[in-house]
Amino acid sequence: MALSEEAKNGMTRREFFKNSAIKGTTAVALGAGGMAIPVSAQPGKSKQISAKTITEAARQTRVCRTADVVVVGGGPGGIGAALAAARSGANTVLIERYEHLGGMGTGGLVTIIPSMTDIHGKQQIAGITQEWIKRLDARGAADYPKKEHWGSRDKKLVEYYKNRSPFYATGNSVGYSAHIDAEISKCLFQDMMKEAGVKTYLHSWGTEPIMEGNKAKGVIFESKSGRQAVLAKVVIDSTGDGDLLPYAGARFETHIDKTLRSANLSFSYWIDNVNLKRYEEYKKANAGALAEKMREVRKLGGTAGFLTSNLRNQENVVWCFPRYANKSQYDVEELTRVEFLGRKEMLITHDFYKKHVPGFEKSFIVLSNSQLGTRGGRRVVGDYVVTEKDMKTKTLFKDTIAIFPNADGKNPLMYMPYRCLIPRNVNNMLVACRAFSSDAVINDTFNLIHHCVCLGQAAGTAAAQSIRSGVDLRKIDIGALQASLKKQGVILPG
């Protein structure tokens, strides 16, 4: 928005940083009733205190670690990036602001990995996503259509899977989409990080890149231990919303059409102890009455409809994903508003269901998301901006690092170029999350959990390769990158 406009107007990095810091504090100051408060936790005098802005004092920040690659954000993109980088031999640090890894896939309760197969039932997304599901499977913590049914157009099968989850059968064929367990995934990710030798900091908010000119040199993060720095040869922004971009002097776009899926926040929660059998019987016999009840709950401000968990021993659990339109998904005021609204409406919904919908009599709210379901924020302007036109013309990029299948029969496959991960005019930095360089439509279609894991895996591998061979990120051998991705189980053309 305002920030990006200024960024586009070509300010120097230093000016830019100063301005944005000031703007950032304005919101905080006004939020606290117009009183100016010092933001710095470090000892040191704040100068020029006024009611509107403050200027922070220059200060020294402790470097707690030096690494090859630092990944900011431990969501799907960050997990892909950190694992791939560490496994490719880079000394890797991962910084995550919550108390768990997995981001939307765990804390956001977006415990669905949809459409990994194309419309013909051929698997197109594998790599770390597949590894994730496979390891969950070992504990019975994932549910998905049987492999022999992928691509089937058999009406009975489609109906069966559609009833289980609308993700299992999109359109008229069965596909490979998985419901996964959030809690087991959290445990799994910490095991995977440990095995790969990734140094992980939880409860740590990576706030600013350390820039030298247009070169990223590391990251500053805040935590209970105060403000610390990690120096690294490559910085990977996997924050989802591209939180580092304004401070790196990178250009980004923020406009999302209101009609797009990604224009909505989600406040997800689970209801347990639901007698689903009873509910299904009621639904079958009284579809009209149930529809009327759903209209009623909506009038009250609640949400109708849910997904069933389908996971082993979770026969009584349903997942609710109410959706909230908003002005911005990285505006703290909006995030707070939606968080409060979501909780209020969660109670309205559950109270209504409990009272009026058979099967919910003894149900209870067992869990709500620890992070709001964010779907769209900043999008970096990279060396290449992937657009809707690329999807429609089925552009096969030479530097393709991932194939994303699409349920839309007209545009069944989308190829992702490596260049969409590299912020324009910034060096030593990659963006591996939903903030990848794309227009709003492409971002809306391809910014889900598994897409981000794919982008992360490519970014991590590329970063390690660049460091190993001593070549700039922009000049690495694409053939070698693709070969090592294939070796990791990533599906690529050819």
Partner: protein, 400 residues
């Protein structure tokens, strides 16, 4: 012709009928031709302003024969007659209580003819060939109700014959009665040219003729009246009428002209046409209705419009069919999963790109919304909607 020879002809006709009715893909018009072998149907549909086509020649030809040969069709051709003759020989105690009752077939024909003048041939569906045709649509049936519906006509005829002998053929069958009336007419015309016979015979005949004419007049008038009532009822119901297959004529005429022959149900590759269980009232019982629970009306198919023998479904070219409005889809935001699980199934399924997400400023949210000007009610969205029995997107009847 000898009895034996006649038997060969009847069996041959029966086999030919079976062949016409079997589901050969290259023989789309088979069942349509078959139904038009009935003079009752052919003349009824023509009178009601339904279909006239090459196949009508068959029914008209048999009608011409009936003018000179008493019930020639019944004795040589009718495959239903052959079936009923076969079972009437079974050893059930056949009661012939009906022997002294009048033949009501004639009145059925008059009522139908009267109704046909107003576009509502009341009892056209009572034709035996339509019953047999419907029985063959059993292999297109989905579910127990459809199976029962398609077999019902033949089962009733068989039961009637097994318990009461040839009650159907002799007294009720409107196709038989049509031939009787034609033969009467034929002999009347022939008698005009013949010299008069005895006085007394003439008076008796004249008396009979007067009575017959009066009854005929009353029956036709009753047909006119009841079809008027039926159409009024149909018109009143047309708001909550069920969805009809593409090409269907106005609801108030449809229930009358439809023969319940099952052709459209059997022709539909998507199996979305079902016999009505009462959605359209008593008058529409067993008439075809469209339901999109599992599949939709394909935009590469116009089969049902091509097989209707009566013109209740007008023949449409593929392009015309795709323009024909079965109904209009609309999304119920309270049931839609777009808000719950980002489901966009209906949007992707629509062949006409009629569904788009739209922003509603007042509600401060977006929802899939159907553009009615692009929607023809093909039901692709409803079929694909994953909400089970609730169906967040539904096609419903629109006022013309």
């Amino acid at each position: 012709m000898t009895n034996k020879g006649r038997m060969y002809v009847r069996v041959g006709c029966f086999l030919l009928a079976t062949l016409l009715l079997l589901p050969f893909p290259f023989w789309m018009d088979g069942s349509r031709v078959f139904v038009h072998a009935s003079s009752f149907i052919t003349m009824g549909t023509i009178l009601a302003g339904g279909t006239i086509w090459v196949g009508s020649i068959l029914g008209l030809a048999f009608a011409a024969i009936a003018l000179v040969r008493k019930r020639w069709f019944c004795r040589h051709i009718c495959p239903v007659g052959l079936i009923l003759d076969t079972v009437s020989g079974t050893k059930l105690p056949v009661r012939i209580w009906w022997r002294r009752s009048p033949a009501i077939g004639k009145y059925i024909v008059f009522l139908t003819a009267g109704g046909a003048l107003l576009g509502y041939p009341l009892f056209l569906w009572m034709d035996p060939l339509a019953f047999l045709n419907n029985a063959f649509s059993v292999y297109g049936a989905t579910g127990v109700v459809s199976v029962l519906a398609s077999l019902s006509g033949m089962v009733v005829l068989l039961l009637l014959t097994m318990t009461s002998g040839d009650l159907w053929c002799a007294r009720i069958c409107p196709l038989g009665a049509t031939q009787d009336l034609l033969e009467n007419f034929g002999s009347f015309c022939r008698n005009l040219r013949k010299p008069k016979r005895t006085e007394s015979g003439e008076t008796a005949a004249q008396g009979n003729a007067v009575w017959a004419a009066r009854r005929m007049f009353l029956a036709v008038a009753a047909g006119l009246g009841s079809s008027l009532v039926a159409r009024k009822i149909g018109e009143a119901r047309s708001d909550r009428a069920p969805l009809r297959p593409p090409g269907a004529i106005r609801e108030d005429e449809f229930t009358g002209l439809c023969l319940r022959c099952g052709n459209c149900m059997r022709a539909c590759p998507s199996r979305i046409i079902h016999p009505d269980k009462g959605q359209s009232g008593v008058l529409g019982f067993l008439s075809p209705v469209v339901r999109f629970e599992r599949d939709y009306c394909r935009n590469d198919c116009n089969a049902c419009t091509a097989v209707c023998p009566s013109g209740a479904l007008q023949g449409l070219s593929l392009e015309q069919k795709n323009r024909y409005v079965i109904g209009k889809a609309s999304v119920d935001p309270s049931l839609c999963l777009w808000g719950v699980s980002e489901c966009q199934a209906c949007i992707g399924s629509c062949p006409y790109e009629a569904i788009k997400i739209q922003w509603y400023e007042e509600a401060y949210e977006s929802f899939p919304t159907v553009d009615p000007s692009k929607c023809n009610g093909c039901g692709a969205c409803e079929a694909v909607c994953p909400t089970g029995d609730l169906k967040a997107v539904k096609v419903s009847k629109t006022k013309d």
